[in-house]
Amino acid sequence: MSMEQVIDVAQWVFLGYFVFLNLGYMALNVIAMSSLRRYMEARGVDSLPSVYANFELPTSILVPAYNEEATIATSIRAMLQLKYPEFEVVVINDGSSDRTLDRLIEEFDLIAFPEAYRIRLETRPVGAVYRSRVHPNLRVIDKANGGKADALNAGINAARFPLYCCVDADSVLQPDSLQRIVQPFLDDPNTVACGGTVRIANGCRVSDGFMEKIALPRNPLALLQVVEYLRAFLFGRLGWSPINALLIISGAFGLFRKETVISAGGYRTDTVGEDMELVVRIHRLLRKEKRPYRITFVPDPICWTEVPEDLKTLKNQRQRWQRGLAESLMMNFRMLFNPRGGWVSWFAFPFMFLFEFLGPLVEVSGYVFFIIAFLLGWISMEAYLAFMFVAVGLGVLLSTSALLLEELSFHIYPRARHMAALFCTAILENFGYRQLNSVFRLVGLVRWTFRRKGRWGDMQRTARWSASAPDRSGSGITPP
């Protein structure tokens, strides 16, 4: 094959990849739009009182905490005020080296309690179980450090109720978060897991653990992530949910049927993407057993989280996410084109593999190839510009359509200038930010390929949005 032919083939491959990637996302966008329309119609009727009153299933809220002394008390106090008829909060102190446990003991009047703790999932040793004398529905499990997955497994062992909701200790919730996310379990008894939309708290004002005022972040990096999160949640997840092929439920806020998770073996402690891995595994096992089930998603903005405002933290986070994605897919590789796997095996899994797992490699190679080919004179200026035009143009189209979904549904950013800022950001993010992200993810992929041990990475938190939280820069164990 001559050099000219090689260049020709490469051009077709890269162009074809970009076009198919974006067509795939556009298809998800169309599904998401139709599903969102139905959801908003139903939501209008659900806003009538008494539709679900007194039928909500009792739920255990599991809060893994590692070195969260600065904010743990505020977060737990907010969780105890959730509007929900019957729930318990189980905090799992995962061997914190700071005063997280002391803060909890002081704040909630905890006492050591002789609980007949059941070990249904193996975890690092549990030292003690505490109960609050002020809040009968609050317990704290104090255990040896084992990571977030291990902490969640300990929480599942201690949970009393049939549903459990995993919440990051630094997540900001809405008072009706639990009510919203439990609805799919009431609508369909086959529901085994449900995720919710995570929004960005940077720039907002939080008071006593609840969202008080919604606004856009001033930090440009955080603003770019607002558009990115809208894209990821509003059609990245809502698109897969109606065909029961959702592969990711954010670890920041998700509701699960406890027995399903236990029978699947709980969270794996040997991956940094334990949240995605669990969901993929549940799909695999339940399809193998031919059991009817649903894994679903509610698009309501029910959980808010802080995102990185500096490049170093962002880089670490994205590398970790890519590593988690790679591990989750590889650990469940038998799902790919499995005859029993339905939409998950034939569409969602291959899509994730091709466009999310291999995506950074192909995208970065594509950009590098066209730049080098242009500089060496292998392709003309016109060809180079045409490729950039399609890559950037389709990216802008996708980001804009995510904003349209937001406008069609929740429009949580109230002012017209917010919307204008978001549209500008949706265009600008395609000139550098997305490419940079692809580079970060590619590094994550390379590190995973060579099995370099991933670090959790210190999340530099500013918590400027929190009216009651002092500065905190803990090494949170929970990726958003």
Binding site: E41, V45, M381
Partner: protein, 354 residues
């Protein structure tokens, strides 16, 4: 440059076309989004203006002394949906004469006729709100139209139709609605139970009991979850008959949850030794409700059960027996050779004394 590109190789023509398509689609989406935002802003203003006028009118209709149709402001076409939403919310929040006054207000404004017309509209949102409205109004003339909606493909619409029929005439509605309760698996049990509660035990007891007795075990199990919407005597009798003849685990589970009749004590004692742990657990709890003093021995045996929940519920039941004290629990604990039994009693005693 674009001209030269358009006339060059196919790959670049495809790239150019894709880019142009993306650009055009982006501009259209942006335009649409701005139109949406403009319409939202207009809607917000209209809503605010609507609330200013109509909230006091609705409040007066609920609490007031009388309604003078002549003094009512005109209900403008673009305010109809706002009105129906507020009116339905108000209806769901109150009971009694307030409901009647809300209906008088709606009729005085011609909302009944407008809801009829809304039912014919194509958009599902309109059908939903019209069905809810006609149900609250108790519009018997709409019976056939609403009964037809029970078979609607949209489950929310079919459920609202069931609810509306029950509101119009509960006794006439239930023989129509109950078969759908077993056939339409997507109907959320919580919503069905709400509808049955609204119908009341007089209307529910007879048709539901008959349907349960005639149903296959699978369908009966689905209907049994609504047993507590029947009169207590009917529920007890049904429980008695089913427990005597049924060996279906799901039916037994459903019945044990609600069982409160001392006549069933022999059956509960038998179920304490069932092979499935969740039945043993429910039997332990039921024993606490219908058992006799000598049944504490059976509960003490369950403290060593292999399943944690059986041990826990047995210990809780034991602790809640009328004659039980913490000292007696401690002596029971001291007499246990099994570590698991001692541990679970430790926890329950601590809970009792917390």
């Amino acid at each position: 440059m674009l001209d030269s590109l358009a006339s060059s190789e196919p790959i670049f023509r495809i790239a150019l076309l894709s880019g142009q398509f993306a650009l055009l689609a982006t501009v259209l989406l942006l335009g649409y989004a701005f139109l949406l935002r403009a319409s939202l802003t207009l809607r917000k203003h209209r809503h605010a203006a609507f609330l200013k006028i109509w909230r006091p009118v609705l409040a007066e209709a609920i609490n007031g002394t009388g309604l003078d149709p002549a003094s009512l402001p005109p209900l403008k076409r673009w305010n109809l949906e706002f009105f129906l939403h507020e009116w339905n919310v108000a209806h769901d929040s109150i009971r009694g004469t307030g409901e009647q006054r809300l209906n008088e207000l709606a009729r005085a404004l011609g909302v009944d006729r407008r809801a009829w017309r809304m039912l014919d509209r194509h958009q599902i949102r309109h059908k939903l709100i019209a069905t809810a409205t006609l149900g609250h109004l108790g519009e018997a003339r709409a019976w056939d139209r609403i009964a037809g909606l029970l078979d609607a493909g949209n489950s929310l619409l079919s459920l609202l139709a069931a609810s509306a029929l029950v509101q119009i005439d509960a006794k006439r509605a239930l023989p129509l609605v109950i078969p759908h309760m077993t056939d339409r698996e997507e109907w959320p049990p919580a919503r069905v139970a709400t509808i049955l509660r609204r119908a009341g035990p007089d209307a529910v007891s007879e048709p539901l009991a008959a349907a349960i007795l005639a149903a296959t075990p699978e369908k009966a199990n689905r209907l049994l979850r609504y047993l507590d919407t029947c009169h207590l005597a009917v529920a007890d009798e049904l429980t008695h008959r089913l427990l005597k003849y049924s060996d279906d685990d799901y039916i037994i589970t459903a019945l044990l949850r609600k069982l409160d009749d001392p006549r069933e004590l022999p059956i509960v004692r038998r179920l304490i030794g069932h092979s499935r742990w969740h039945i043993r657990m429910l039997a332990a709890v039921a024993l606490g409700r219908v058992g006799e003093p000598e049944d504490d021995a059976a509960l003490i045996n369950l403290l060593s059960d292999e399943a944690w929940w059986v041990r826990y519920r047995a210990a809780q039941t034991l602790a809640n027996l009328p004659f039980m004290t913490v000292e007696r629990l401690r002596s029971v604990q001291a007499a246990q050779a099994d570590r698991y039994a001692r541990d679970i009693l430790d926890q329950v005693i601590a809970e009792e004394t917390l």
